[in-house]
């Protein structure tokens, strides 16, 4: 009963956000710079939330998320540009192939832990990038031309589905298993949780949504280039999750939105932007290693004290 109420509130709120922004865009109240910023913000939120599932919920430290973004971007671009498929099918194809790539990367690497896992995912992301760099079919180092197909409506639908699926996954039996793995893998194993299965599942699900975000990003920028998917991009996504709080979905949404606004204003000064990013990262880690929200959600603020919490 309580859960359905939360669901309807979420649905109405997101319909409202969608309607207001759509109205402002079609009415010409927001110019192209800001509407582009809003679309970029939605894409970054999708990336942050998908990585949040891997790092924040399952506790697997992956720093190669840009690799799956690249897979989604290239596969969807091939689908629309080379095979003339419709855009929704291209998005789906990008997501599915990225999820398969996630499975392929996840099955061997997720046996590793901590630092080793981080470096292995970084290595895989670099291999994916070098792979696209050397394939002439997709333009190699020069990049690939892509038509502009991403609209606010398509971006919002993808964002809505991403958040819905990840929230429901987190609150389900599977999500609780994943959180148990995050808290203590050996204890989770002892409780009879199939840790490998859940780690790989969360990793593949995160990759799927990263691929969807990649498809949207590819069709938003007119051109995709392997240099856009280097480890700096992975670190960008990592910063959203870490700054928002490892384990807080609303935290990563807030951090992604906020940092997208900052980087839009600082896009003429890329060095300053990176200095601010890295300083924020170091200072947050030294003085508040849990991130801004810790593992709390923004909805926790509205819960009455003493009430039963479902998390």
């Amino acid at each position: 009963m309580k859960k359905t109420k939360t669901f309807w509130v979420f649905l109405i709120l997101s319909a409202l956000i969608y309607g207001v922004i759509q109205f402002l865009m079609t009415g010409g109240w927001i110019d192209s710079l800001y509407s582009n910023m809003i679309i970029l913000m939605a894409i970054n939120i999708m990336l942050a939330v998908s990585l949040h599932l891997v790092i924040g919920i399952t506790g697997q430290f992956s720093i190669g998320h840009a690799g799956f973004l690249a897979v989604g971007a290239y596969v969807s671009a091939i689908a629309t540009m080379k095979f003339q498929l419709p855009f929704p099918i291209a998005i789906l194809a990008g997501g599915i192939v990225a999820a398969l790539a996630g499975l392929l990367v996840g099955i061997p690497t997720l046996r590793l832990r901590g630092d080793y896992l981080a470096i292995a995912t970084l290595g895989f992301a670099e291999i994916i990038r070098i792979f696209f760099l050397n394939i002439d079919y997709v333009g190699g180092a020069a990049g690939m031309q892509v038509t502009h197909l991403t609209t606010w409506t398509s971006t919002f639908i993808c964002l809505f589905i991403t958040i819905l699926v990840i929230v429901n996954f987190t609150n389900s039996r599977h999500g609780r298993a994943a959180i148990a793995i995050r808290e203590n893998e050996i204890a989770a194993d002892a409780m009879g949780i199939n840790t490998t299965y859940y780690k790989v599942a969360a990793f593949a699900l995160g990759s799927l949504f990263a691929g969807v975000a990649g498809a949207l990003q590819a069709h938003n920028f007119y051109i995709i280039n392997p240099t856009n998917f280097g480890f700096l991009k992975s670190f960008d996504i990592l910063i959203y999750v870490v700054l928002g709080g490892l384990g807080s979905l609303s935290g990563s949404v807030i951090a992604a939105s906020f940092l997208t606004i900052i980087s839009t204003y600082l896009q003429d000064y890329p060095e300053t932007r990176m200095i601010i990013y890295s300083l924020v990262l170091v200072i947050v880690m030294l003085y508040r290693p849990k991130g801004l929200m810790g593992t709390k959600e923004i909805t926790d603020l509205f819960k009455r004290k003493g009430g039963n919490s479902n998390d």
């Binding site: 430290f61 720093i63 061997p108 690497t109 046996r111 590793l112 901590g114 630092d115 080793y116 981080a118 470096i119 292995a120 970084l122 290595g123 895989f124 670099e126 291999i127 070098i130 792979f131 760099l133 050397n134 050996i186 480890f231 670190f235 990592l238 870490v242 490892l246 060095e271 300053t272 990176m274 200095i275 990013y277 890295s278 300083l279 990262l281 170091v282 880690m285 030294l286 290693p289």
Partner: protein, 291 residues
């Protein structure tokens, strides 16, 4: 005969990786931190060497020493400001801080200097020797000699001096070492100083050998040196040397076979293979995880 030449090139490249990898492996051995900023110390070392040569007119070896001293101080500063607070933090927090410090050094450097390339002046004699038909330059011999010399000095410091003994004790068990009266903070600083000095030396050698340096040059060699450290067994000093040499030779062979664009991928493929099949590295021992 071309193969001997390629082998020498590979060993020269590998000795640069080995010098950087030594810093990674020593720091990891002592505080279990992957010091991502190490590749940037390498970059700073290359630039200090460059300015020492062009600005002060020094020759190769004095520039090498200036760069090593400056990098040692730089390494201690990084450790004192950023990593000292993290002794009791989680591994993920430490790793993210290291990534942050690395990005900070790179972009502060670019902010003040610009992202342009610099070309190293030719400081090494360029004679070619003819060994069994292979053309071996004096450049690669000097580089190889310098690297081997530095590694021997390192072995001496680690095994024959009091600081080295303290370093080995701290890496074995930090609490027991503290109880035995070892000044742990100073030992960790000494480790950072030695590792950073080696990275600075590698920077100058890299500049003299490959002539092109730029502010983001440390990223890829840094990652590859980490691969070398993992390959040899992280935390083990001879392992870093072996890993660096193997990586350099493999990369040169991949290039020589005509896949030079895949050269960077080769290092990461080696990394993933070693992590899957023998995560403790070539010289590492398997450790059981305690609950």
């Amino acid at each position: 005969m071309e193969w001997i030449q390629q082998l020498v090139n590979g060993i020269s490249l590998g000795s640069i990786y080995a010098l950087i990898a030594l810093g990674y492996t020593m720091v990891y051995g002592i505080i279990k931190l992957i010091n991502f900023a190490h590749g940037d110390v390498f970059m700073v070392g290359a630039f200090i060497g460059f300015y020492a040569i062009t600005g002060w007119g020094l020759s190769f070896f004095p520039a090498l020493i200036v760069s090593m001293v400056a990098c040692a101080i730089f390494g201690i500063i990084i450790e004192r400001i950023a990593y000292k607070r993290l002794r009791n933090a989680t591994r993920i927090a430490a790793l993210i801080t290291a990534i942050g410090v690395s990005l900070l050094i790179e972009y502060v450097f670019i902010y003040f200097r610009g992202a342009g390339l610099e070309t190293y002046p030719s400081v090494l004699p360029t004679k070619t020797f003819d060994v069994f038909g292979a053309q071996i330059t004096s450049k690669s011999l000097i580089i190889l000699g310098t690297s081997v010399g530095l590694m021997l000095i390192l072995q001496f410091i680690v095994h024959k001096t009091k600081t080295g003994k303290a370093m080995r004790a701290v890496s074995h068990d930090i609490d027991a070492a503290r109880l035995m009266g070892i000044n742990v903070d100073r030992t960790i600083s000494a480790t950072f100083a030695i590792g950073s000095a080696l990275a600075g030396a590698a920077g100058v050698i890299f500049g003299a050998y490959y002539t092109k340096i730029e502010p983001l040059m440390g990223v890829i060699p840094g990652l590859k040196a980490f691969v070398a450290a993992v390959l040899g067994g992280i935390g083990i000093i001879p392992g870093a040397m072996i890993g660096g040499l193997i990586l350099g030779v493999v990369e040169t062979i991949v290039s020589a076979l005509g896949f030079s664009l895949w050269r960077d991928a080769a290092a990461f493929i080696i990394l993933i293979l070693i992590l899957i099949f023998k995560p403790s590295g070539i010289l590492g021992k398997n450790t059981k995880e305690k609950v």
